[in-house]
């Protein structure tokens, strides 16, 4: 088999790159071995939330500018021209590219009929299952409606489901009340309630996705709406754990009309329904552009000299060689399987590319344990989580000498070194922006 562009990995980076290349008219194959990290993500687009020191950025664009100026090995710096480029130019180029890539992302989501709200010029705080918040800049309208600014000077009710262990509305309401003064918002009242979901009564160990599936059923949704109306006397805002898999926007609208209040979804930790929805949408947009996304294709080896000539792909019981002109490595880090531990050392899984920590150290001889701090939450995060492969400004993986390892290989997403998406809240932003650039570069 032969294609123009072979993308390894079907997360946010891989699917974005695939869509861009397919939009240029290229024949694109995306190999997806199973489910990776994007499907486990919160489903909102964090571009830049914090500095490693804990400083909260007022906006994503501010974050990108500061990071691109101060942190030379960060992907946001590299896409702006890298270390060789003057800081001012680097900052300008980087911000320009981030804006372009995210504008393109929002448009692609519109094309599959989902609204992402927010802006790069303002970080909003969205509330999660434990009543705390995280900074983000673009999210589905169903979540955006519940950003903390909207909740100021109003009455909020956190609604839970009995038997759903991930989310305790009482705890959530309490911690939200505790945190609110720090956010400089004054809700009039914060309460909690429980809701019966038809079909899940009396059950324990309920999953978010089960609630979501019930929301998608029109009859069940109507009953949930009636239950909401009965249980809640008056409130300005109602927070629910999830709004559905297939039609969250419509479901929220239905519930809001029934309850006579603004209804919004909370963000959650994995497994998260919005994360699942995001992957499906990215996949659909890539497929609509003409890319072929194949699940059950596992890359097990590469045939390379100065270029990547072909990849060995395990498809069920068969191993096939697939050739392409250009390859994009978007294999993720630990959850996705792009990085792996081998005899106490950190390795890149597909091409055995050199792996570096964020300070530029080649990790060939550094034991993995050294990349972890004794402190559970160290300042700036564990080094392990910002380790990965180094790339040049074209996103080609590079060796110690700074030379591209293979002329026709590009990389995007969390396989890259230089950023700690857990501490920075920048994972989706880096994935989408580097995916976008890799897709453009792969198209020549």
């Amino acid at each position: 088999m032969k294609v123009d562009v072979f993308v390894i990995g079907a997360g946010a980076a891989g699917l974005t790159a695939a869509r861009i290349a397919a939009e240029k008219g290229l024949k694109v194959l995306v190999a997806e071995k199973g489910s990776g990290a994007t499907i486990q993500s919160s489903g909102v687009i964090d571009v830049a939330g914090y500095l490693p020191s804990g400083f909260l950025f007022a906006s994503a664009s501010e974050g990108v500018r500061i990071i691109a100026r101060e942190n030379k090995s960060h992907p946001y710096s590299i896409i702006g021209g890298g270390q060789e480029t003057e800081p001012e130019k680097r900052v300008k180029e980087s911000e320009k590219l981030v804006r372009k890539a995210l504008k393109d992302f929002v448009e692609s989501m519109n094309s599959v009929r989902v609204n992402f709200m927010g802006s790069l010029d303002e970080n909003v705080l969205v509330t999660n299952f434990v009543g705390t918040f995280k900074p983000t800049c673009l999210c589905p309208s169903t979540i955006y409606n519940g950003n903390t600014k909207n909740l100021d000077n109003s009455s909020v009710i956190f609604v839970g489901v009995k038997g759903f262990p991930d989310y305790d509305p009482k705890f959530c309401a309490q911690s939200f009340s505790d945190i609110a003064p720090g956010l400089k918002i004054k809700p009039k009242s914060v309460n909690h309630a429980y809701l019966d979901i038809p079909g899940l009564e009396g059950r324990g160990d309920i999953l978010a996705i089960e609630i979501a599936r019930r929301m998608d059923d029109p009859e069940t949704l109507e009953k949930i709406g009636q239950n909401l109306q009965k249980r809640i006397e008056s409130a300005d805002h109602i927070a629910i754990p999830t709004a559905g898999v297939k039609s969250p926007e419509e479901n929220i609208k239905t519930l809001a009309e029934a309850a006579g209040a603004n209804v919004f979804e909370l963000t959650s930790f994995p497994p998260s329904v919005p994360g699942y929805r995001l992957v499906k949408l990215l996949e659909k947009a890539a497929q609509n552009a003409g890319a072929s996304v194949r699940r059950g294709y596992k890359v097990v080896g590469a045939n390379c000299n100065k270029m990547v000539k072909s990849l060995k792909v395990e498809i069920g019981r068969k191993i096939t060689e697939i050739e392409a002109d250009v390859y994009i490595l978007a294999s993720g880090s630990f959850l996705g399987g792009g990085l792996k531990e081998e005899k106490d050392f950190l390795k890149e899984s597909m091409f055995n590319l050199p792996v570096y920590s964020s300070d530029g150290t080649n990790l060939e001889e550094v034991c993995l344990e050294k990349l972890l701090s004794r402190n559970v939450f160290p300042m700036g995060g564990h080094k392990l989580f910002s380790s990965g492969i180094n790339v040049n400004e074209k996103l080609q993986p590079i060796s110690d000498k700074g030379e591209p390892v293979y002329g026709n290989l590009y990389a995007a997403g969390s396989v890259l070194s230089g950023y700690n998406y857990i501490a920075e809240k920048s994972g989706m932003g880096v994935a989408i922006v580097t995916g976008y650039l890799a897709g453009l570069n792969a198209s020549g």
Binding site: S35, E210, I315
Partner: protein, 407 residues
Amino acid sequence: MPEKEMKFIEGIMKEEDITLIEPEEEETCQKVEACQNCGLCLTVCPILEVLQHESYSGPRSITSELSRTVREFWKAKDIVYYCTKCGRCQEICSKNVPVPKVVSLIRSKLFKQRRELVPKSFEAMLENLQKYGLAFEPMDEEARVESAKGRLEILGLPYVPDKVKSHVEVLYFPGCQADNLLPEIRESAKLVLEKLGADYTLLPELKCCSLPSILMGDSETIDKLEKDFIEKVKNLGVKTVVTTCAGCTATLEEIRKRNNADFEVKHIIEYIIEDIGEEKFKKLLQNHPEHVSVTIHSPCHLDRHLGKYTTDYAEEILEMLPNVGFKKLEDPERCCGAGGLLNIYNPQISKAIVKKEIEDIQKSGAQTVVTPCPLCLVQIDQALFKKKAETGALDYTVFLAKRLYVA
């Protein structure tokens, strides 16, 4: 351990219906521990798609049954037969938890220790398998040939007599359905193999591939059929076993692997692409006067149990055929709902599942849907008929024969 204590433990185990996990089952059980309870499997399970309002909580609850106490464990009977073995849950799982294997494991435990919990609707087929080694009661040979000839006539295809010989390259293994209910598949396969110039034989006496016995959990019959198959193939000395049934292909491949046997198992689609090759196959094709637009229903036992390359092959072959237009389904991975014996255990749910596939097939606008699996074919064909749909359904091999033999 002292004898007295051992006896005491054994006594309790007997009383409580506890059996130890066999060494070969250990791997499957260990993989279950990896389940993160994320629920992604719930989004792809065909049963859940139609069972929105029931309290059945899907594939993840099947895996979690294994970790429960013994008394709870037997409750698995309520859910473990709600499975078509489509394998989509394992495919989407980031930990690759082998749910279909777990289902087989639990079903075999139920069969061995709590025979009374095995669905009564399985009895007829179970009896056939134990008595004849076949899923259906065997037909009289003369009647079988007559019925086959009748079907061929309707299809406008010639009849060629069976060949049974040893030391040939290929053994054609039709499986129970093509041998009994759908003889046109068996006959078409012979015609296709003739056209391909294959040196082939049939078995002197066909036995089931053992898939239905696996689905019921009848380990004794499984062992018997497995030994029989391996011995027969070794005696015939063939290099490749070619089948026309997705379920047979996947099951015989498992048997081959377990026995480390020195032959290959291939669906006829794989045989055409890998052994005949595009170039040679194209030379055999002649123009066909009738244009037809076709879509493919990919059987779970090929697409997921063997691998997605089978679906690619099936499309590649169709695209080579003159005057055939290929249309893709929106969701080409949908399960027909018949597998896992669900069509026998709960026909209502099974039929509700196929309804979704029928909608997809009709939306594709194809005149004919072809599928390389007799079980899927019957399921889809019946549903199309019931809906009075204009779309026709044909077995993949029968369709190939029709395009290769121009009247």
